[in-house]
């Protein structure tokens, strides 16, 4: 009887390990030529009211990042940039739609301090025409980027 019990335990344990080791859905590799700028950057903060779930409206929110390293686009480490993320309450892999086209990434939610690998384009007006939440309004000038891909780094 004890032997049967041990066997059942072993099967359960192996099954559990198998479940843990089962490969998840493959993450598409980060494209080498997506957008005009590619950076690794730290999300400085998520201002109150910048990200909210609203089923009835699509919107983009502007978040502030500090550049850590730049692979394309000539941005210097330490530079503060402002990036518009579409429907920011959704995981990035689920944010794209017919309105804005393909978006993607492995980031599921925006957490202050996280590092993201970002593929970006600008100017924003040429890539996005819709509601915008800009909690930094009046505090930044110059380029606002549109995020095409946002991976956790």
């Amino acid at each position: 009887m004890k032997r049967w019990g041990l066997m059942v335990l072993a099967v359960v344990a192996l099954g559990g390990l198998g479940w843990r080791w089962a490969p998840g859905p493959a993450t598409p590799p980060f494209p080498a030529d997506l957008g005009s700028v590619e950076v690794v950057a730290k999300l400085v903060e998520v201002p109150p009211g910048a990200v909210f779930q609203r089923e009835l409206y699509h919107y983009a929110t502007i978040l502030r990042y500090e550049v850590v390293s730049c692979r394309r686009g000539g941005l210097m480490p330490g530079t503060l940039i402002h990036v518009a993320h579409y429907d920011p309450w959704k995981p990035r892999a689920e944010a794209g739609d017919a309105r804005v086209g393909a978006l993607g990434g492995t980031v599921r939610s925006f957490v202050a301090g996280d590092r993201h690998r970002l593929a970006l384009v600008s100017p924003l007006d040429e890539h996005y025409m819709g509601g915008l939440v800009d909690k930094y309004f009046g505090q930044h000038a110059g380029v606002t980027y549109w995020a095409l891909r946002t991976d956790a780094e």
Partner: protein, 342 residues
């Protein structure tokens, strides 16, 4: 479910508007009955969206498009009342509260809906709004504004949109455009763009939409969400406001608790205002919609009587409001509309 909400809305609206006597409401209906026609979009008994016309008191409703194979919406009479723009897309597609101005094809018809023809393909001529003389339209797309001559379909001017992104309306004198803009404050502002200088100014900032001009061009009417403490599931309620085009003199037009007020449209003589009342924040175009309404500008600022609202607007009036058929985006013409009775 949608029907139930609509019924609740109707009952709620009837109760809220009950501060005015039936005689006052009847007087208002008589006053406006012969003042031209109102075009609007609504679901037909078949379930598809059609363009309808009604007398301003809600009587004599007639289906102008009568095309069960398409969803027809967003009607705009030219200022002389002779022509009608609207958008049309295949049956079964959902009208979007965000993007209705760029869905489907832009259609041009006589005021009574006859001789309709498409002006372009799917998504083209987005957010088209009439020039004062009815010979041009102004469109809004990601690459900017464009003014297009209707007779030749030639683009005669383009200019950057500068953050404007939906619901543009060309002023009666042709010198300016109002629309919803990202260029002022944190989001959803109403702004005016002067066409000669391309200078823009805010009319009202934050949580505003569906702007339109008074016929004289000295006021802009728009929807504005009242700052709230999280009621109505965190959405609050959207009210009808007006301001001068430079943003000065902003005042309440009409507020309710229980419906969002959108699509404000001032009558051609400036004496009345039409609006859409909706239970859902986005105007609920995916469902049945809710009754439109009409009231006198001279009765504003006005509220549908409610204790909490009275605290916010202690000096607001309580006049009569007409309850009109369910519909969206009403547009009023006083001019003789070809094919429609005088």
């Amino acid at each position: 479910m949608a029907n139930r909400f609509t019924l609740l809305g109707l009952l709620g609206f009837a109760c809220l508007a009950a501060a005015a006597t039936p005689a006052e409401v009847a007087t208002l209906a008589t006053e406006v009955r012969s003042l031209g026609w109102v075009a609007y979009s609504a679901r037909s008994p078949r379930g598809d969206w059609e363009i309808f016309a009604m007398r301003p008191d809600g009587s004599d409703v007639r289906n102008l498009t009568n095309s069960p194979e398409t969803e027809d919406f967003y009607p705009l009479f030219s200022r002389d009342g002779r022509q009608l723009l609207y958008r049309s897309m295949p049956r079964g597609q959902t009208v979007s509260g965000n993007d209705y101005g760029r869905q489907g094809r832009l259609m041009l018809a006589r005021a009574n809906g006859t001789e309709a023809k498409a002006l372009g393909g799917d998504g083209e001529w987005p957010w088209a709004t009439w020039s004062p003389d009815g010979r041009q339209v102004l469109t809004l797309q990601p690459k900017g504004f464009a003014i297009v001559e209707l007779a030749t379909k030639q683009v005669i001017r383009t200019f950057p949109r500068g953050g404007f992104y939906q619901q543009p309306a060309w002023s009666p004198d042709g010198t300016a455009v109002v629309g919803v803009s990202n260029g002022f404050d944190t989001g959803w502002s109403i702004a005016r763009l002067e066409l000669a200088t391309l200078r823009a100014n805010a009319v009202s900032v934050a949580d505003c939409c569906t702007p339109d001009w008074s016929a004289s061009g000295d006021r802009v009417v728009f929807s504005r969400r009242r700052p709230h403490g999280g009621e109505n599931g965190g959405y609050g309620w959207t009210e009808l406001w007006q301001a001068q085009p430079d943003g000065q003199g902003a005042t309440l037009v009409y507020a309710e608790v229980g419906r969002h007020l959108y699509g404000g449209h001032v009558s051609p003589d400036g004496r009345y205002v039409l609006f859409t009342g909706n239970l859902r924040e986005d105007g609920d175009p995916a469902n049945q919609g809710a009754p439109m309404g009409l009231l006198r500008m001279s009765d504003t600022p006005m509220i549908a009587e409610h204790a909490e609202l009275r605290k916010v607007y202690p000096l607001a009036k309580s006049g009569p409001a007409l309850i009109l058929p369910a519909g969206h985006e009403p547009c009023w013409t006083h001019s003789p509309a070809p094919g429609l009775p005088r």
